[in-house]
């Protein structure tokens, strides 16, 4: 809502008036309200008591989970594993720094008028990955090395999603421009690339990357599994991204190209200064949609034995010492995903409003 929206008169704002117009305006709406109300009352109560009132939060072991409610103690005790995977305890500060920097770069984007938030955003896209590249694996600048087989949990999910998102956008843009190019070879290559990767399920890509690729590589050269998965995810995702962006490029009227040409701009400046800024703005919802689906698709690395947050939870709910903690585990994973996906979605709406130049109808 912008501030210029005119509010209705005060007398039409009372709760009774509101209920009469929204809940009980006709007999079938009244019926629906009652049915939905009944369902809410009967389901929310038990849900709240399961999640909060009867739940066990504190304790020392499986024996403390005796109530009817959720056993959050299980999540609580394994939280370290769910977040950091096998990352050594004494080095987890490095991951914490990355979490803090990630929050520093992106949380201010939600706050109107936060000082320097544009620069923080740019830092998030450029400096942050570089710092992460140094800090998380270590092995340079006197930092102890941590092999990628020890990365796991939420941290791994974020790494996969973040690198996938960050790398697939520029590659996608190049592919989309290439597909609309006048040069037949470039256009052909881009079409083949996009159509091949888009036609293959991600699960197949990951499987190829994890099972087939090592067999093709010469003896002695081995990419780490995580890197193989990352390359697979990025290439697969950029094919999707290219098609989303191509949609935006097609929506730009021919006149814009010609006008830019008439100003004497070369091809790249025409694209960079005139066409892409308009096209990308148009397809923000599509791009964000792709980001969110990528974020959730990262859980597929489970099938190649990488412990993302879902993998970490699934491997621990099998522990015979804990009984029936599967629901708690999955609810926790769902909650984590919801927080991040909802954040991405809010950010995009924010961005759309900010970039709105009034051309939308």
């Amino acid at each position: 809502m912008t501030e210029s929206t005119i509010k209705p008169p005060k007398k039409n704002l009372g709760p009774v008036k509101w209920m009469r117009t929204h809940l009980f305006s006709s007999w079938y709406n009244t019926l629906l309200t009652l049915v939905v109300g009944y369902l809410l009352v009967t389901s929310v109560g038990p849900l709240v008591s399961w999640v909060f009132l009867d739940a066990t939060f504190q304790g020392s072991g499986p024996g403390d989970c005796v109530g009817e409610g959720a056993c959050w103690l299980f999540v609580n005790q394994r939280l370290n594993f769910f977040i950091y995977g096998f990352y050594p305890d004494e080095l987890q500060w490095r991951v914490d720094i990355m979490f803090a920097l990630l929050a520093l770069a992106f949380v201010p984007q939600f706050i109107e008028g936060f000082p320097g938030r544009k620069w923080l955003g740019i830092f998030g896209m450029t400096g942050l990955p570089i710092i992460g590249y140094v800090l998380i694996p270590g092995g340079i600048l006197g930092l102890e090395e941590v092999e990628s087989s020890k990365w796991g949990g939420l941290m791994l999910t974020l790494i996969l999603a973040y690198i996938g998102i960050l790398a697939s956008l520029p590659i996608g843009i190049l592919l989309a421009i290439g597909r609309r190019s006048d040069m037949p070879i470039i256009r052909g290559l881009c079409v083949v690339f996009i159509e091949v990767w888009r036609a293959v399920p991600l699960i197949t890509v990951l499987f190829m990357a994890s099972v087939m690729l090592p067999l093709f590589l010469p003896e002695g050269i081995s990419f780490e599994k995580l890197v193989r998965a990352l390359i697979g995810i990025t290439l697969w995702q950029s094919a999707y991204m290219a098609e989303v962006i191509r949609g935006g490029l097609q929506a730009i009227p021919r006149g814009q190209y010609e006008a830019a040409g008439a100003l004497g701009l070369g091809y790249w400046r025409k694209m960079g200064l005139v066409i892409l800024p308009q096209a990308l703005k148009l397809v923000i919802p599509g791009i964000v949609n792709t980001f969110i689906s990528l974020f959730k698709d990262t859980t597929l690395v489970l099938i190649i034995g990488l412990f993302d947050i879902l993998g970490a939870v699934q491997s621990t709910i099998a522990d015979p010492a804990w009984q029936n903690v599967a629901i708690e585990g999955y609810v926790f994973v769902a909650f984590c995903f919801w927080v991040f996906c909802f954040g991405i979605s809010r950010y995009s709406q924010n961005l759309e409003r900010k970039l709105d130049t009034g051309h939308k109808t």
Partner: protein, 341 residues
């Protein structure tokens, strides 16, 4: 195009920098020593065999088998890195050199041994497929299961064994297939089937997941042979021998009564078998390319076979498995290790 090329080069560069390109030395032992640690392939979570604990460190009998190899090679059971692998990618990971030992609940079969370019270095657990039944149906023996509905996890050899068993006995059954073991046990708990089948080592753990574990029991029948053990690449006999004799050393240590606690005192033993195993006499280690006291390092840091068994899957653990056929041959089991001499 230029940008695309540079982007591609960029990715390749980042990928190259991120990955460790381990240069293979002539033998597995040399490359393991050069790396400074053993790379061991395990499951991505199977109670008692290999599972991450609260602190994210790996535990289980398969894990300890790798730790014993590390203790033998480096004198340090902690010099192991674990690679969690799914059932499908386990053999590739070994063939491609990503891991040095595969210790992942893998059944030794003729096809795997002969056609995959692998060698099974022994058996660290003799498993077999069994049945968990609801007490209500009043069955005491698998022969009475004609016409039963059976809950089973898809894509496992258990599915094939089950079909074989019922066909051989001329009985009918109706399979209800689930994706994960968690869902299988939920299906059983919900009464969708009379019987649940899985490896015996897992039945007790699955039973403990029931709301009332005493409502179900494990039948005495074992319908398949599942010898599980560590696997190495074919073509490196030295490494094959090392893994094989690490396992034998643990079994021999139990037979000779050497434990984690008394290993130090046993160094003074007059028994020549003990002396050879612990390296106070002879050059058994040197013959394998290991330090002569490799046996001492294994027993001191990981324990003998019995200690390893009790700690991970034994009666006092959540799995609660009796030794059964996994006892020493002297105690009625089938564990029999050749002598160290």
């Amino acid at each position: 195009m230029k940008r695309m090329i540079s982007a591609a080069i960029g990715i390749a560069f980042v990928a190259g920098a991120l990955s460790t390109t381990s240069v293979h030395a002539a033998t597995t032992l040399e490359s393991v020593k050069a790396k400074g640690h053993l790379q061991c392939g395990v499951t991505s979570g199977l109670p008692g065999f290999s599972q991450p604990d609260e602190k994210g460190s790996w535990t289980g009998i398969d894990v300890d088998t790798c730790r014993a190899v590390a203790a033998a090679v480096f004198g340090d059971a902690k010099a192991v890195e674990f690679t969690p692998l799914t059932a499908k990618e386990r053999f590739t990971a070994l063939q491609s050199g990503e891991i040095d030992v595969l210790s992942r609940n893998t059944t030794w079969t003729l096809t795997r041994d002969v056609s995959l370019g692998l060698n099974f270095a022994g058996v660290n657990y003799y498993d077999g497929q069994g049945f968990l039944v609801n007490n209500d149906i009043g069955v005491d023996d698998a022969e009475q299961l004609d016409g039963a509905t059976v809950c089973i996890q898809s894509g496992t050899t258990s599915e094939l064994n089950l079909a074989d068993y019922f066909r051989a006995k001329g009985m009918e059954f109706k399979p209800i297939v689930f994706d994960t073991s968690e869902q299988t046990v939920q299906g059983f708990a919900a009464g969708r089937c009379d019987v649940l089948t899985s490896d015996r080592s897992q039945l007790a753990a699955l039973r403990s997941k029931l709301a009332d574990p005493s409502s179900a029991k494990i039948l005495p029948n074992t319908i398949s042979k599942e010898p599980l053990g560590p696997v190495v690449r074919q073509g490196d006999d030295q490494w094959f021998n090392i893994v094989k004799w690490v396992l034998f050393a643990q079994i021999n240590a139990e037979e000779l009564g050497i434990t984690m606690d008394n290993a130090g005192e046993m160094l003074k033993s007059d028994n020549p078998n003990v002396q050879r195993l612990l390296g106070t006499d002879g050059d058994m280690g040197a013959k394998l390319g290991l330090p002569d006291d490799f046996g001492l390092a294994i027993v001191k840091q990981v324990g003998n076979y019995g200690e390893m068994y009790d700690r991970n899957v034994g009666p006092d653990t959540a799995l609660g498995l009796e030794r059964g056929i996994n006892a020493l041959w002297t105690n009625g089991g089938i564990l029999y290790a050749p002598p160290v001499r």
